[in-house]
C-alpha cells in the first residue's frame, strides 16, 4: 500500500515538473567504485555489470521495484498453473531492441535456453535449474514449464542474470550490449567511464534524463575529491563512510542511507577444529561487539543482525540477543570447550573495507578473550581459491549480497561447511511450499536454527550509502539488487 502511494507521488511530482525544460541538466554522472569487466550480465558474477545495465539497458520478464518487490517487466502479466509447474507469460507488445529488431517470444526462449544450456557460463545457473522447458506459444506468449514447483521463480526471473537478450546481437554483447531498456549503450572508455543515451523508442515511460555517464573511481580519496569537485552527481554505494560527515555538513549533498541484501558475517569453518565445536563458535559470537564494528569500520552505517537474514524483510527475526557482546561468557564457553588458554587461527580478509577494517577490530576483540588470529589480506581471486573453494581458513569476513540466500546453509559443501540434516529438510520443504503464511513461519524457524547453532557470527546488514547532489531526485535508497535504476531520475530546480 505504501508502495503504491509513494509510486503515485513520484508520478505526480514528475507530472508537475515535466513542463519545465532544463537546458543545463539533462544528464547525470554516476560514480561507481567498480568497473564492469564486460557488459554481459548473463555471463559473469560481477555486480558492476548489473549496476550499469540492469533495467537501464537490459530488462527481464519481471523486475525489482525499489523496495525489492517483484513487478511485471517485459512480461505484462502471467498465469501460473495450479500445480505451480507451468508459467505462461504474456509479453508486452511493441517492444523493440535498441538495434531495431522486435522483442518476441523467440527471444525469451533463446535467452532462457542459453542461460540453462550445458555450456552456459551464467554465474547464477541455479536460478534456471528447475526449468524443464521453454516454448513460444505465439509471438507474444511464452510458456515455461518447471520440473518442481518453485515459490521464487518469478523472483528469480527478475535477477540481472535472467535479462532478455537477442540472438542477433549476442556475439558482441560483451562490448556492445543491445537490450530493450530506457537507455541504450553509447560508449565505453575502459578504465574510465561508460556512457548511456536515452532510448527514444522506449516502450514504456521514457527516461527523464537524456544521457547518463557511469564513472569508475575505485580509490575512495578520489571518490571524495570527485564528489567535492562536483565531477560526479551521485556516488552510488559510497566506499568511504569516514567521509560522510563532510558530505552531511555540506548543503550541496544529500546522503541516502538504505538497506542492502548484504548480510555481513564472520564465517567460521564448521568442519575445522576448533570451530567444529558449537561452544567455540558461540564463544566467538559472544566475544564480538557488533556496535564497535559498525562504529569503527562503518562509521555507524549498518544494522546489527543476529542471523542470516535482511532486517528489512517482513519475515526477519531479531536474534541479536542470542549473541550479545559478553566477553566473560565467551571466555567461559572457551573454558567449557577445553580451550581456557585460547587458541590460534587464521582470519582471511577479502578486499572490501568492511572486511579489512572489521577484521582488525574483530582480531582485537578476539584477542581480548584469548583467541589469536593471523590476518591475511587476500584479493578476491585468492579468497575464492583459498577460502571459498579450498576451505583453507579458520575465520573470514564476507558480505553475502545475494537476496534471500539463507538456503546456502542447507548446502554442506558451502564454504562454511554447515551440515545439519534438519535444516536441509526445512529448506527443501520451503522450496515447494507456496502458502505465504507457512513460508513465513518456516523462514523464521530457519533463522532461529542457524542463530542458535552459531554457524557463523552474524555481524551487520551492510548499509547502502549513496551521496547524491541535493537537486537530483529519484535515486533508489535501498538496493534490493545490484542495480542503479536511472529510468526515473530527474533534476529538481
Amino acid at each position: 500500500m505504501m508502495k503504491a502511494i509513494s509510486r503515485s507521488m513520484f508520478a505526480a511530482s514528475m507530472m508537475l515538473t515535466a513542463g519545465a525544460a532544463f537546458a543545463a541538466n539533462t544528464d547525470v554522472t554516476v560514480g561507481l567504485q567498480l568497473e564492469p569487466p564486460h557488459l554481459d550480465p548473463t555471463s559473469a558474477a560481477a555486480g558492476a555489470i548489473d549496476q550499469v545495465l540492469y533495467s537501464n539497458v537490459f530488462e527481464g520478464l519481471t523486475r525489482f521495484g525499489p523496495d525489492g518487490s517483484v513487478n511485471p517487466g517485459l512480461a505484462e502479466s502471467w498465469t501460473i498453473s495450479d500445480d505451480g509447474l507451468s508459467y505462461t507469460f504474456k509479453l508486452r507488445a511493441g517492444v523493440k531492441f535498441h538495434d531495431g529488431s522486435d522483442f518476441e517470444a523467440t527471444d525469451v526462449v533463446f535467452s532462457l535456453d542459453r542461460a540453462r544450456a550445458e555450456d552456459s557460463v551464467n554465474a547464477q545457473k541455479a536460478l534456471f535449474a528447475g526449468i524443464a522447458s521453454v516454448e513460444a506459444l505465439d509471438a507474444g506468449t511464452v510458456k515455461v514449464t518447471l520440473s518442481d514447483a518453485n515459490g521464487s521463480f518469478l523472483f528469480n526471473m527478475a535477477w540481472g542474470d535472467a535479462v532478455m537478450v537477442a540472438p542477433e546481437s549476442i556475439d558482441d554483447i560483451k562490448s556492445n550490449p543491445v537490450g530493450t531498456g530506457a537507455f541504450r549503450f553509447d560508449s565505453w572508455s575502459r578504465g574510465d567511464k561508460i556512457e548511456l543515451a536515452r532510448n527514444e523508442d522506449y516502450w514504456g515511460t521514457p527516461a527523464r534524463i537524456e544521457a547518463a555517464t557511469f564513472k569508475f573511481i575505485s580509490d575512495p580519496t578520489a571518490a571524495f575529491a570527485a564528489m567535492m569537485a562536483e565531477d560526479v552527481d551521485v556516488f552510488y554505494s559510497y566506499p568511504a563512510p569516514e567521509n560522510l560527515m563532510a558530505f552531511e555538513a555540506d548543503a550541496r549533498f544529500t546522503i541516502l542511507s538504505g538497506s542492502t541484501e548484504g548480510e555481513t558475517i564472520l564465517a567460521m569453518n564448521n568442519k575445522q577444529a576448533p570451530f567444529d565445536n558449537a561452544k567455540v563458535r558461540a564463544a566467538v559470537s559472544y566475544a564480538i561487539d557488533r556496535n564497535a564494528i559498525i562504529d569503527g569500520a562503518m562509521f555507524g552505517f549498518g544494522t546489527p543482525i543476529g542471523t542470516h537474514f535482511a532486517p528489512h524483510n517482513p519475515d526477519y527475526v531479531d536474534l541479536t540477543g542470542n549473541s550479545a557482546y559478553d566477553p566473560e561468557k565467551a571466555r567461559a564457553l572457551l573454558a567449557e570447550a577445553g580451550l581456557a588458554d585460547g587458541f590460534k587461527t587464521t582470519l582471511k580478509l577479502p578486499p572490501p573495507s568492511y572486511a579489512r577494517r572489521g577484521g582488525e577490530i574483530i582480531a582485537a576483540q578476539l584477542r581480548a578473550v584469548g583467541i589469536e588470529t593471523e590476518i591475511s589480506n587476500l584479493e578476491w581471486a585468492q579468497w575464492l581459491e583459498q577460502v571459498f573453494r579450498g576451505y583453507d581458513y579458520g575465520l573470514t569476513i564476507v558480505s553475502h549480497t545475494e537476496p534471500m540466500d539463507i538456503g546456502i546453509y542447507a548446502r554442506p559443501e558451502y564454504y562454511f561447511q554447515y551440515d545439519n540434516a534438519d535444516f536441509q529438510t526445512l529448506i527443501a520443504d520451503l522450496a515447494v511450499e507456496a502458502d505465504p503464511g507457512k513460508r513465513s513461519g518456516m523462514l523464521k524457524q530457519a533463522q532461529t536454527v542457524i542463530s542458535e547453532d552459531y554457524v557463523n557470527a552474524y555481524l551487520f546488514q551492510l548499509a547502502m550509502v549513496s551521496v547524491v547532489k541535493t537537486d537530483l531526485k529519484g535515486i533508489w535508497e535501498n538496493a534490493p539488487t545490484q542495480a542503479i535504476d536511472l529510468t526515473s531520475v530527474y533534476w529538481a530546480d
Binding site: 569487466p37 578504465g191 580519496t221 565531477d231 584479493e379 578476491w380
Partner: protein, 315 residues
C-alpha cells in the same frame, strides 16, 4: 654503426625471448582461477569448466605458451578473460594515457633536472649548489604516492585548482586532458627530477675535472663556454642512461600514481588484471613493458652512438 646497431638488436631479441619465458612461467604459477573469479560464489562447477574451456585455459602449458608468443608476434595479443575484448585494443586505449603521462613527467623531469644540475655543478659549493643538493635530497626521500596525496589535499580538495583525478579523454580537448595529467606528472617527476639533477651534477663535475676541459680553458674558453661546448655533451652519456631507465620506470612504475589519481593507464590495468586474474592481460602488458624497457635501452645505446663517435665508427 650498422654492426653496432645489429649487435644491440641481437641482444634485444634474445632478452625478449628469455623475458617471455620468464613472464609466462611466473604468471602460470599465480594461484587463483580466472574462471572461478569471474563467475563468483554462486557458480556451479560445470559452469566454471565451461568457461575454462571457452577461455582456452584447459590447453597444455606449452600450447598456451606458443599460442601466446605466436599471437604476440603476429600482433594478436589474445582476448582479455574479463573484458572479453582484444587485449591489443585495451592496451592501446591505456597507452594513450600512460605514454602521454610518461612523456609529460619525463619532460618535467628533464626541464627541472637539467638547469638545476648544471647550475649546481657550475657553481659547486655555492649557496645555489647547496640548495639544489638539499632540495634534491628531499625530493629523493619523498615517496611519490605520499606527495601525490598531499597535492590532492592541497590543490584538489582545498584549493580546487585541479580535479582530484580521472581522465576526461583526449576528445574533450588537449588542454583539459593535459590539466588532468598535471598533478600526476608532477608527483612522478619530482623524485625522478631529483635523481636526474644529482646525476647531471656529478657527471658534469666529473667531466669538468677532465683534462680536455683544462685544454679548452687554455685555448681561451671561459668556464661557461667550456661547460656548454665541451663538458655538457660528455656529461650527457651517464645522464642518457638514467633518462632511459626513468622513461621505462615512468611507463611501468606509475601504477600507484595512476591509482591515486584514478587514471585509466597501463599500470592500473595490470594491477586490476592481477587481482581479477586476467592473466592474459597481465602477461601481455608485462611483456609490453619489458619490451618498452629493452627498446628504450636500445634507443639509448643508439643515442650513445650518435653522441659518441667511438661507438659510431664501430670501435
Amino acid at each position: 654503426m650498422l654492426i653496432y646497431a645489429l649487435k644491440r638488436l641481437r641482444s634485444l631479441v634474445l632478452s625478449l625471448l628469455v623475458a617471455s619465458v620468464v613472464i609466462f612461467a611466473v604468471i602460470e604459477v599465480v594461484p587463483g582461477d580466472p574462471a572461478a573469479f569471474m563467475l563468483g560464489i554462486n557458480a556451479q562447477e560445470d559452469t566454471i569448466a565451461a568457461l575454462r574451456e571457452e577461455l582456452g585455459l584447459n590447453l597444455s602449458v606449452y600450447q598456451r605458451y606458443f599460442n601466446w608468443v605466436g599471437g604476440l608476434l603476429s600482433g594478436d595479443f589474445g582476448i582479455s578473460y574479463t573484458y572479453r575484448s582484444p587485449v591489443a585494443e585495451i592496451v592501446t586505449e591505456r597507452l594513450w594515457v600512460s605514454l602521454p603521462l610518461a612523456a609529460y613527467a619525463l619532460s618535467l623531469t628533464v626541464l627541472l633536472a637539467f638547469p638545476a644540475g648544471i647550475l649546481a655543478a657550475s657553481r659547486r659549493g655555492s649557496v645555489t649548489d647547496l640548495s639544489v643538493m638539499g632540495f634534491t635530497q628531499l625530493g629523493v626521500a619523498i615517496p611519490n604516492f605520499w606527495f601525490a596525496m598531499l597535492m590532492v589535499l592541497a590543490f584538489a580538495i582545498n584549493l580546487r585548482w585541479f580535479s582530484a583525478g580521472g581522465f576526461p579523454g583526449w576528445d574533450e580537448g588537449f588542454w583539459i586532458s593535459m590539466k588532468s595529467l598535471t598533478l600526476p606528472a608532477i608527483a612522478l617527476a619530482l623524485p625522478q627530477a631529483s635523481i636526474l639533477a644529482r646525476v647531471m651534477r656529478s657527471s658534469l663535475l666529473d667531466t669538468l675535472g677532465e683534462d680536455y676541459v683544462r685544454t679548452c680553458r687554455a685555448k681561451g674558453l671561459s668556464k661557461a663556454q667550456a661547460l656548454w661546448r665541451h663538458a655538457l655533451r660528455n656529461a650527457l652519456i651517464p645522464v642518457l642512461t638514467i633518462i632511459g631507465l626513468q622513461f621505462s620506470f615512468l611507463l611501468a612504475g606509475a601504477i600507484i600514481i595512476e591509482n591515486v589519481f584514478f587514471l585509466p593507464g597501463l599500470g592500473r590495468l595490470v594491477f586490476q588484471s592481477i587481482s581479477q586474474r586476467d592473466l592474459i592481460v597481465v602477461e601481455s602488458v608485462v611483456m609490453l613493458l619489458v619490451f618498452a624497457v629493452i627498446l628504450v635501452n636500445f634507443a639509448v645505446d643508439i643515442a650513445y652512438a650518435l653522441v659518441d663517435p667511438r661507438l659510431r665508427r664501430g670501435r
